[in-house]
Amino acid sequence: MKRLWLAGFLCGTLFFSGCWSKREINELAIVSSAAFDRTDEGWEVTVEIFLPSSSQGAGGGGITAARQAWLAKGSGPTVFTAIRNLTLKVPRRLYWAHCSAIIIGEEVARSGLNQVLDFWDRDPEARRSALLFVYQGEAAQLLTKSFGAMERTVGMQLAGLAKTSKISGYAEVSTLHQFLVALSLPGADPSTAGLVLRPLVEVPGLVATGKKDLKTGTTVTELNLDKQALFRRTKLVGWLDKREARGLLWVRGTIKDLITIQVPGNGEQKIDLEVFNSSRKLSVKQKDGIPQITVQIELGLGLASQESSKELIKQSPSLERKAQIVVEKELKAAWSKACKLEVDPFGFGHLIYTKNPKLWHKLQPSWPGGVAIHWQVRAQVESSGLSLGGPRELEER
């Protein structure tokens, strides 16, 4: 009987606990993206909230041009108060778990992200998997300006872009988690993708006046994700362009892209090589007191497109050499830009730190300097898709 009571009591304690914060899903304002800007008084937070489609309207499918989102802007001396002030404007409780994109204005980024990062890291609902973007301009504009969008919200558009941009390898978006991890490592600096709005169609002579269609003449802009923002700790210091960004991504080993090279011996015709697999190996040695970092990059390539009709696959050794040169150039460009900005997005410093912390502390003040980098790129053309040569012209047969 005693044991029965004990068992009953222990089972009963199960029910003293439970999950917290019961809230119906339709009582929430689900945030899709948030933009952070600086003002004179402090901070301005613009949130993009999903407008849940009503049950009748849902399920149309296809490409919806119109955004189904609702914007609200809160301001205050700190990020947290700015977000609190949003409750004066949003009739439902803000819900951050589904927020997929954090957009930082360039001005904020240059002055430091500490407050934003702190809010995000501290809040139990906000997820570290949110993507971090730097916008060249006032971040709120990205939400307020109209541009051609495929997804319902800017947040979803950006989340999609972050995935697809991996294919091109011109920019890499880091999540807030990756950003915070990079910050926590000695000798590594975070970086993330930059956004820019550029005109898609410009009708000369007419002024952009808002929501008018092309006939009456207005500038339609499109969103581009083709920059890489470099940070020194939490502060934005500069940008990498497309080619430089690729140099960075080769070292990170996340690239799956095309390399365009000139056909050997035929100046005008260009061919593309697709990267099927890439692996990279970093090693560090010390020689004469100077750390020697070797970056070995091995690329498995495939012929993706060609202009000439020759069976170029047969000349793969020369293709491989050309590809190696291209990649090497990109690597060097990225490294020299990083050195110029005095940041280390590659994490070479961290590599030295893990091997030899004392040496790192010696190098740290002048970092990224006093190090020799050896780039070793090996490329191998492995396949040529489903065809051997290019389209054959009749006379060549």
Partner: protein, 545 residues
């Protein structure tokens, strides 16, 4: 007939060993012997049955032998075959015995002479006591009293309304035998006997019900079923003291280990082939007159996910569909509770797009998810109950009411969200996938407490509730055998039995948890032809010669 207060005697009875003719034993105690006067006997019997009882008949006759014998026939006319009575008893006794000298017939007494030589009956019973005679007459025997004999003779001429042997509605198969038990116990016995032509198949009969004196049988295979199990089942049945047992389902509730819980611990089937499978596994069946369902014990939780057809279709599909059924069993309990928990506590677990469409669907729904789900589940139960209760032509229209009015209209009136309708539909669908749960609807009730837990404590609550349910299940037994067997106690080697149904030539052993008297079912080599050295690949050359 029975004393109202016989608890004392009942206890004495409990100590006695179970015997097949339990009723006969009880009657020996009331030793009212028959008299030698046939007329007295018949009148006494009539008195016991009530003077004006319409279905009891006594017929006076004189058997025209030399010398003639006065006799009385007593029978229940509603229970016997009148043609057979004329042919087998009246004709030989009244017509064909003229000018036969009684003393020339072999036999000692008059009764023996007539019984041995004149009655056309396969089974002839002699009775000494009044109560024996009464129950024989009520059971469909024609009783013959002879003047000057203290022994009555009974001839079984039973004919009662019966229905045809049809395929049981709840256990239909595409492949396999299509016969089912009926309400007639002897027919059911013969259905089983036809399948198992072995002397080891035993029907140990018993009687149950103070008033109804219903006949039943404990069915098992001697040497295969565990003798202790047989003893235990008989002990439980024998100790019962009830007015009547209308159906084997009532008996089930009287003898099962856990009558208060929603989980059934005995299987039941109306299919003789399933009983055959169960008996050869070492289980014991219990059948009752007037009930087409045979109880099978012991039963395991996972047995409830098996169907009649499992043994007849190919094993990969059986195994696949069985895992689907297990999943469906869980879904039928979990689905609405999980819907509530996730939409009110764990929004972050949903993919963004799904969260949005649920939020959008719930946008104009005035009730919290719990009220919404709970009331829809209640309404579903209403629809089901109405569909079962109504005669089938009207019953079908209930489905339309349920689907159109409650599904379509409730959504467009925005009382419930379309997502919930999907959840409710999936719940009911999956609860009907589980074969025996269909009949044992009690298990489906568990989703209501789980919904409350889900609404108050989220997924944590559901898990806590499930922990409780599983804890109860692991503690349960079915006639002493563990109810949650290959999982708890954990028997890794038989674990696959939950889902896999191996081909019969691989199932060489009987299930361990049944603790059969003999675990070996057959030799390791069942298909000897496949072992044949001459023909290793099983290729058969039919050409030539």
């Amino acid at each position: 007939m029975r004393l109202p207060f016989f608890s004392k005697r009942k206890q004495e009875q409990k100590k006695e060993e179970f015997s097949p003719s339990d009723l006969a034993q009880r009657q020996v105690e009331q030793k009212t012997k028959l008299r030698s006067s046939a007329k007295d006997n018949a009148e006494a019997l009539q008195e016991l049955m009530g003077k004006d009882n319409a279905d009891f008949t006594t017929r006076e006759l004189t058997i025209p032998t030399t010398p003639s014998v006065e006799a009385q026939l007593c029978f229940c006319e509603t229970m016997i075959d009148a043609t057979a009575l004329n042919k087998q008893i009246l004709e030989p006794l009244l017509l064909s015995v003229r000018e036969i000298a009684l003393r020339e017939l072999p036999g000692k007494s008059v009764a023996e002479k007539i019984g041995r030589n004149l009655l056309l009956a396969g089974k002839l019973q002699n009775f000494q006591f009044k109560d024996e005679v009464l129950s024989a007459a009520l059971g469909g025997q024609v009783v013959l009293f002879l003047e000057g004999s203290e022994i009555a003779m009974g001839v079984e001429l039973r004919k009662i309304p019966e229905r045809a042997i049809v395929e049981p509605q709840s256990e239909t198969v595409l492949r396999g035998p299509r016969e089912g038990f009926t309400e007639c116990l002897s027919d059911n016995k013969s259905l089983l006997r036809v399948r198992i032509k072995s002397g080891k198949l035993r029907f140990d009969s018993f009687r149950i019900g103070r008033i109804s004196e219903n006949e039943g049988a404990v069915i098992y295979l001697e040497g295969i079923a565990n003798p202790k199990l047989i003893r235990e089942i008989k002990r439980r049945i024998k100790s019962l003291d009830v007015d009547m047992v209308a159906d084997s389902s009532v008996l089930e509730k009287l003898i099962e280990d856990h009558p208060l819980l929603v989980f059934p611990t005995t299987l039941f089937t109306e299919r003789p082939d399933l009983v055959e499978f169960a008996l050869t596994e070492g289980r014991v069946g219990v059948m009752l007159e007037n009930s087409p369902a045979c109880l099978i014990a012991p039963a395991n939780f996972f047995d409830f996910f098996k169907t009649a057809e499992d043994n007849y279709i190919r094993w990969p599909y059986t195994s696949f569909i069985r895992s689907i059924r297990l999943l469906a069993g869980l879904v039928s309990i979990w689905a609405p509770a999980t819907y509530i928990a996730i939409t009110t506590f764990h929004r972050e677990m949903l993919p963004t797009a799904l969260a949005l469409s649920i939020a959008g669907a719930r946008e104009n729904v005035p009730f919290p998810a719990f009220v919404e789900a709970f009331s829809m589940e209640l309404i579903l139960e209403l629809v089901l109950e109405a569909g079962v209760r109504l005669p089938s032509p009207i019953g079908q229209s209930i489905g339309i009411v349920g689907a159109v009015v409650l599904g379509q209209a409730a959504v467009s009136a925005q009382i419930v969200s379309p997502f919930l309708v999907i959840v409710v539909a999936i719940t009911s669908l999956s609860s009907f996938v589980v074969p025996l749960f269909v009949a044992e609807r009690g298990v489906r009730l568990l989703r209501f407490p789980l919904m409350i837990l889900g609404a108050t404590m989220g997924l944590y609550g559901i898990m806590a509730g499930m922990a409780g349910i599983v804890a109860v299940q692991t503690a349960m037994t079915s006639f002493g055998q563990p109810y949650f067997a290959p999982l708890a106690p954990f028997w890794p080697r038989t674990l696959t039995d939950i889902i896999f149904n191996p081909p019969i030539w691989m199932a060489n052993k009987r299930p361990k948890w049944l603790r059969p008297g003999n675990r070996r079912r057959q030799d390791f080599v069942v298909r000897d032809w496949a072992q044949d050295g001459e023909n290793p690949d099983g290729e058969v050359d039919l050409s030539g010669e």
